[in-house]
């Protein structure tokens, strides 16, 4: 067994037989995780999977500038020493492991449930086996003092929006700390994905977060393709990337409109609200669904763009582009808008890095995290060099990242529509390799979507781990609110625009 390496080095979309992944001693595992993280590593996932009466613990650490992913594995029984004090980016992962399997992270400074569901294994990490589970029922961080007050909001909010609970510790109008408690949207997705993949599997992945359908569907399709060694035709790759960029456009444009609404700048608010729908309709022109349902399938895509359709879509895109640029120009030219955005909801780069922020929120703090650049796949290989970064980490930076990405995505879609490779659309994806692990990253509009799948002896999924970018970024919103006015919450929240259902699974 000398060929076994302590650390498996994978690339985005790789799969590996589980027998080739060394099970490290617990001490060696934690030392190695810390070493990998110290060597410019970024934690992508930390999760458990049942192994008999015990649990396999997997850590996946990205070395972005090398385009690699280090995979480490150990085995635990019911507890292990928490990594969070040294590596804050894993704080939610450790809480998630405890909630799912009752495996306790000893010394975790913030050891609380995440989604408020029953443990998948025998024990509950908080001894609640006989008690009813009430979402949001946990100890919140509290500030004491005569003038300090607490504001509780949710789960049902004042708009057409998903449920979540927020606790603000305030001194006058100033927020000293905000804590977020979610789980209301928990549908038990990960256990639902176990077994042989079928049509429902894809639909469940498409609805992890409805606004990121293409991102999650692509990540799942690539898991199947990796495990069945299917090479996706270039035309399908091009259409997937085109749809992903349309998804980015719809959401980024909608978010700028949302920021404008929260500020009360009505022209951009109303134009962007309409334009968001126009981008969704372009996706519907492609596959019939405004959210890209049923487009991506393991092995390829279900719908083609013939010459006529490409021309029609290009024409429509040109019209929408002009209106988008006009609406954005008004917004970013207006001094009162900029004054409201600049300096609001700042997150320091060091904090962003320590918490492992990804996507728009990470790039707005100057973090170079974009899977399209570092871990390219499909059509992005050799074609993507337009990653966008800002440095100030405030609402303005998050708006600017979106504005610049809108411009880039428009030219990507335009280019893609005129240069679709002339190949078939789809190849049959065969049976999945048994007892293997596959990992895929996809840069959705919100940030990095990571999927890890493990198969059993029959080639069925025995564990499917989803990491939505929101899982990493909600802590960033909490940091952004520190020392801000409580009235800034809607604006800060909109600038992150995180998913509740993507977090809750």
């Amino acid at each position: 067994m000398s060929r076994l390496k302590p650390v498996q080095i994978l690339r985005n979309g790789d799969s590996v037989p589980l027998a080739e992944v060394t099970i490290l001693e617990m001490d060696a595992f934690f030392t190695a995780v810390k070493q990998e993280a110290a060597a410019q590593g970024r934690v992508v996932a930390l999760f458990a999977s049942p192994a008999g009466d015990e649990f396999d613990l997997f850590a996946l650490i990205a070395h972005d500038w090398q385009g690699t992913l280090a995979l480490l594995r150990t085995r635990v029984v019911d507890r292990y020493p928490s990594l969070t004090p040294e590596l804050p980016a894993v704080h939610l992962f450790e809480r998630e492991i405890a909630e799912q399997y009752g495996v306790v992270a000893e010394g975790h400074p913030w050891f609380k449930p995440v989604r408020f569901h029953r443990s998948y294994s025998a024990g509950d990490a908080w001894g609640r086996d006989q008690q009813p589970l009430i979402p949001g029922d946990m100890d919140y961080y509290r500030v004491e003092g005569s003038d300090v007050h607490e504001v509780a909001v949710g789960p049902v909010h004042a708009g057409v929006i998903e449920p979540g609970h927020f606790r603000f510790q305030c001194h006058g109008e100033k927020v000293l700390h905000m804590e977020i408690s979610l789980g209301y949207q928990h549908r038990g997705l990960e256990p639902l994905l176990k077994g042989k993949p079928g049509p429902a599997t894809m639909q469940r992945l498409e609805t992890v977060a409805g606004d990121s359908t293409i991102a999650h569907a692509t990540a799942y399709a690539r898991i199947c393709e990796s495990l069945s060694h299917t090479a996706v035709p270039p035309r399908a790759e091009a259409i997937r990337a085109l749809a992903l960029e349309l998804e980015r456009l719809a959401n980024h444009v909608g978010d700028i409109g949302g920021l404008a609404t929260d500020i009360g700048y009505l022209p951009t608010a109303s134009y962007c609200g309409r334009l968001r729908g126009d981008y969704l309709n372009l996706t519907a022109d492609l596959c019939g669904s405004r959210f890209g349902r049923t487009l991506v399938r393991p092995g390829g895509v279900a719908y083609d763009i013939d010459k006529d359709r490409a021309e029609k879509m290009s024409k429509q895109l040109a019209l929408v582009t002009r209106d988008t640029k006009g609406a954005l120009a008004l917004f970013f030219d207006c001094p009162s808008v900029l004054a409201r955005l600049e300096g609001t909801g700042q997150v320091a780069m060091d904090d962003a890095e320590a918490l492992g922020l990804v996507g728009v929120a990470g790039r707005a703090c100057g973090l170079a995290v974009d899977a399209r650049l570092h871990h390219p796949w499909g059509a992005y290989i050799r074609n993507f060099d337009q990653a966008v970064f800002e440095e100030t980490g405030d609402v303005h930076a998050r708006a600017k990242v979106r504005q610049r990405e809108i411009v880039n995505s428009i030219s990507w879609v335009k280019q893609a529509l005129s240069s679709l490779p002339d190949t078939e659309l789809s190849l049959p994806a065969g049976a999945l390799a048994p007892e293997s692990l596959a990992v895929t990253l996809v840069e959705g509009w919100r940030g990095e979507v990571a999927h890890v799948a493990l198969t059993d002896k029959q080639g069925a999924f025995c564990r499917y781990k989803i990491v939505d970018p929101s899982f990493r970024n909600w802590s960033g919103l909490a940091m952004a609110l520190r020392d801000e006015q409580i009235s800034d919450f809607p604006l800060c929240n909109k600038s992150f625009n995180l998913s509740y259902c993507g977090f809750d699974l």
Binding site: V156, G159, Q185, R187, P199, Q203, A284
Partner: protein, 254 residues
């Protein structure tokens, strides 16, 4: 200021004259299914087997689809070897009764208007409180779209409000997760009588893609009395608008 006016002029007037004109919907959109009138001669059951949610039923060769369970993925139509099962572009799908969603080849029984008393109360002003009880947020996204200038829901006197105390009814999305059940019931209790309940989307009607998960209730079910069912995953904004206007009796005879 001049820049704003110039841009306003350029962007033009975009509100769609619904009721006067039929909306343009993507040709690949999957709306109301078109089912064969004659019993299917083939005994292949390919359409039924393609549906992971049991939405397709075959009774002595006659194909029926439960639009409450259907996510409009179109897999049944793709699987059909004879091509007799197809989805049309027709966006009008909302019904008053759960049973009306179980459609065969006959005309779909679209939602009838509220009774006289309720119509008098809500016909010209309907305030709704939306509750998201699970789901994927796509339903919420396409409900929010109704507030944009294309749909301009406000012109029909329909509005989403912040408090259940100000509302005439609830519009519920999501399969009703265990963790949202009590919040949903509390919100319903806070709406003054008489009140309406609208189940919007495959999740709220039958659990949608999450049907069968122990963490969800497979939709509203018997938790609340539902007055309007709007199918779709998510429902197209025109489908929702059509359903709401039918409920208020604004589309009678159409």
């Amino acid at each position: 200021m001049l820049k704003i006016l110039r841009e306003r002029f350029r962007q033009g007037y975009r509100t769609f004259p619904y009721l006067k004109k039929d909306p343009v919907i993507a040709e690949r959109f999957r709306g109301r299914p078109q089912l064969p009138i004659e019993p299917c001669a083939l005994d292949c059951h390919a359409c039924r087997d393609a549906c992971p949610y049991g939405a397709v039923q075959i009774d002595q060769g006659r194909i029926g689809i439960d639009l409450g369970l259907c996510t409009f993925c179109g897999d049944c139509a793709t699987a059909c070897p004879s091509g007799t099962l197809t989805f049309s572009c027709d966006h009008r799908l909302a019904t008053r009764k759960r049973d009306d969603l179980r459609v065969g080849p006959a005309e779909l029984q679209l939602a009838a208007a509220l009774d006289k008393r309720m119509k008098k109360l809500f016909g010209r002003s309907l305030k709704l409180r939306q509750v998201s009880a699970g789901g994927c947020n796509a339903c919420e996204a396409d409900i929010n779209v109704l507030g944009t200038l294309v749909f301009d829901l406000g012109r029909y006197g329909i509005q989403f409000v912040a408090s259940p105390r100000h509302a005439d009814g609830l519009l519920v999305t999501g399969p009703v997760t265990e963790n949202m059940k009590s919040a949903l019931l509390d919100t319903y209790a806070a709406v003054p009588e008489p009140k309406l309940v609208i189940a919007s989307g495959a999740c709220a009607i039958g659990g949608g893609p999450f049907r069968g998960s122990p963490e969800v209730n497979n939709g509203i079910g018997d938790l609340l009395p539902v007055d309007l069912y709007i199918p779709g995953c998510p429902p197209h904004p025109w489908t929702t608008l059509d359903g709401l206007l039918r409920l208020l009796g604004r589309l009678e005879g159409r």
